[in-house]
Amino acid sequence: MIGCLMLLVLVAGVVLTPVLSPHDPFALDFASAVQPPSLTHWFGTDNFGRDIFARVMAGAVYDLRLALVCVFGPMMVGIGVGLVAGYYGGTIDRFLMRITDIVWAFPFYVLVLAIVGVLGPSESNLYIAFFLVNWIGYARIVRGETLVVGRLEYIEAARVLRFSDGRVMGRHILPNTVTPALVYSMSDVVLTVQAVAALSFFGLGVQPPAPEWGLLIVESIDYLREAPWMTIFPGLAIAWVGVAFSLVGEGLAATLKPKG
């Protein structure tokens, strides 16, 4: 509940920014550079005189878009792969699972860094990198669940009724296997927001002057002591999203837990 509320506040902030704090997040104004938080500039201004509140809110669009697409996109792929592998078993299963083993064997950041390194840093290449890596967890979770559910009587019954494989997987197995994947995805969003920010921090993600949070932080480094608000607010935004999604995940787990 609290998690949802926190996300709602953020979304409301993003939507209402033009009304609440009508500053252009990109316009330079050297005359009002490095000002502390005030009524006009709620989070202060940066070294170019850009309003940090406007930038953090505009950054939310980048970070949430990246995080959600990079989690739920690969989640679809992973669920599909996991279902197929768990349902058919045999060679298909072995083949798909060996692929997940290979990807799984690399530390997450090493693999993402390698992919971004080869393709070059940009937002679209971040999508590619995360799509190539993030589906693995879901495939494994859903495959495991499918193996369990696939042996239950009602699935046997569905098969005896000669329902098509697609129907059995989609209508009968999927609803009973997707819960753990959904819960996992919430913590995955948290990790992905951090990963996106970290990659941008190292210059491998979103490119300036986009107000992506990791970029806001790296741009603030030289001003850390003189203008700490440049670092603190984007940092808080990352923490905010992290806590919010963690709470949502916990809530989901509690709600969706099989009762009885």
């Binding site: 330079l28 170019f48 070059g120 210059g203 300036p208 002057p209 850390l224 002591r225």
Partner: protein, 501 residues
């Protein structure tokens, strides 16, 4: 008895004084660059060059004013009337292993610098023959006059190395090099620090003043400053410009700066549309508010640039930079057929916080003429490779002169093909190329100066770059550090630096 007491007292004093002397500290300098290699013919990055200049000597070197050459290993030198014979008299100097520096080492080192393996070969190939008169006298022969010859011999790449040691194995040698400079390498931890011990055989007696030196590699500028404030280092190079004022006010720390021979600019790929159009390139120059950049990004530490040439010998002090004139820029864009502007990508070295800020400001400024820039941050080495391959629209970069004669930089930024196809812009001016050829055979003097001024004028008007600024180079040091400064050639000398206790 009394005498004995006196003697005892004296002895104790000496004993007390003894350790204090032995405790003389090495000078610790925090730098932002990690040296890549200590082989002078294979490097062009500042971290490597600066370290090499502490380890090796050249025959002559740029002096502290950056206006002329002063003796290095050569005590004296002269050129014959016809300009074809250069004679050098070496001083009595020794390498750090105690072996003397001989004319044979000089011939070997310069031949090596001119070899195919050298990335600086062009600078020395005009020297076609060597004649060793005796151990301390050598003559170099040219086929035709070459005015920058002495200047080029003062480049780091012409460092004098011990022939026998290098021939015994280059790879091993450059991991543990021996030179005749003020310091010798004690330890080199890549990515972390270079530890230097004083060269006991150094030819300037009584130097180096400090008991060795440590170059600490700290890539983050703010982290360097924090180290200085904590007293972990004595000097930091390139502190963040926004922190200079506050730093100078801090007790026990002072800030200094020099105007080095440096120019910052945006390279334009003159082979690509729309940068193949002079009017577009001029419009871009007019649309940038250079003064605002200097104020907003450099915090005032710089001057507006009129070309890609640093302001050095033979510079035309009257050459005016492109004014900031958006209206005229719009007109030129319309005349060139781009009234609605265009989109382009600008490459920026991700290791340079200052340049990232410049790119952000340029991007905002160019919106006024409907030019939409995408900033692409790249690792420095990748940026060089990408621009070299001609695979770019625009790239933010700079050049620094390692020496006092403008021949080095004009050959790099303006002559095509010569060294780098006019620094990868592929811009070409036949007139400028001719002048460059002439300048190199014209003796120093007004006539040669006139040629340089014309070349810079052509470069200014041709605008293969967006000319930005000449930044100053800053450092901050603890108050007990004596004698540190950055030279106009961007490097620093440590043999004269001492730490007072």
């Amino acid at each position: 008895m009394r005498r004995a007491i006196k003697a005892f007292a004296l002895a104790s004093c000496l004993a007390l004084a003894g350790p204090a002397v032995a405790q003389a500290e090495p000078i610790r300098v925090a730098i932002g660059y990690d040296p890549v290699s200590l082989d002078p013919i294979a490097t062009s990055d500042n971290g490597s060059i600066w370290t090499q200049l502490l380890l090796y000597d050249t025959l002559m070197r740029p002096d502290r004013t950056g206006e002329k050459l002063e003796p290095g290993l050569a005590e004296s030198w002269s050129v014959s009337e016809d300009g074809l014979t250069l004679s050098f008299k070496l001083r009595e100097a020794k390498f750090s292993d105690g072996t003397p520096v001989t004319a044979e080492d000089v011939e070997f080192s310069i031949r090596r610098a001119a070899s195919e393996a050298s990335s600086w070969g062009r600078f020395f190939r005009p020297i076609t023959d060597f004649e060793i008169v005796n151990d301390r006298e050598i003559v170099m022969k040219l086929d035709e006059p070459f005015t920058p010859a002495f200047n080029n011999l003062a480049l780091f790449s012409a460092a004098i190395l011990p022939k026998a040691k290098v021939e015994a194995g280059e790879e091993a040698f450059f991991n543990n090099p021996v030179g005749s400079g003020p310091f010798m390498l004690k330890e080199w931890v890549r990515g972390s620090r270079v530890v230097l011990a004083p060269n006991p055989h150094y030819w300037q007696s009584g130097k180096p003043s400090a008991d060795g030196a440590v170059l600490e590699v700290v890539t983050e500028a703010s982290a360097r400053v924090i180290k200085l404030e904590a007293g972990e280092v004595h000097v930091v190079l390139d502190p963040p410009l926004n922190q200079l004022e506050a730093l100078d006010e801090k007790e026990g720390i002072s800030v200094g700066s020099t105007m080095p021979y440096r120019a910052d600019f945006v390279m334009l790929n003159n082979k690509r549309e729309p940068f193949d159009n002079d009017k577009v390139r001029q419009a871009l120059n007019l649309a940038i508010d250079k003064e605002a950049l200097i104020k907003g990004v450099l915090y005032g530490a710089g001057t507006v640039a009129a070309s890609a040439m640093p302001v050095m010998a033979y510079a035309d002090k009257d050459l005016q930079p492109y004014p900031y004139d958006v209206a005229r820029a719009r007109e030129l864009m319309a005349e060139a057929g781009y009234p609605d502007g265009f989109s382009a990508e600008i490459l920026v070295d991700s290791g340079k916080a200052g340049h990232r800020n410049v790119a952000i400001a340029i991007q905002a400024m160019l919106q006024a003429i409907n030019v939409k820039l995408d900033i692409q941050m790249l690792e420095g080495g990748t940026q060089w490779e990408t621009t070299k391959a001609g695979n770019y629209d625009m790239a933010l970069s700079y050049t620094t002169s390692d020496t006092v004669d403008p021949d080095q930089i004009i050959g790099f930024v303006a002559v095509n093909p010569e060294r780098a196809n006019a620094y990868h812009t592929e811009w070409k001016s036949e007139r400028l190329n001719d002048l460059y050829k002439q300048e190199r055979v014209t003796p120093n003097g007004e006539e040669r100066g006139e040629m340089f001024r014309e070349m810079v004028q052509i470069l200014h008007e041709g605008a293969p770059y967006i000319y930005l600024y000449h930044p100053s180079a800053a450092w901050a040091a603890l108050d007990n550090v004596e004698g540190f400064s950055i030279l106009p050639t961007s490097n620093f000398r440590l043999e004269d630096v001492s730490i007072e206790n």
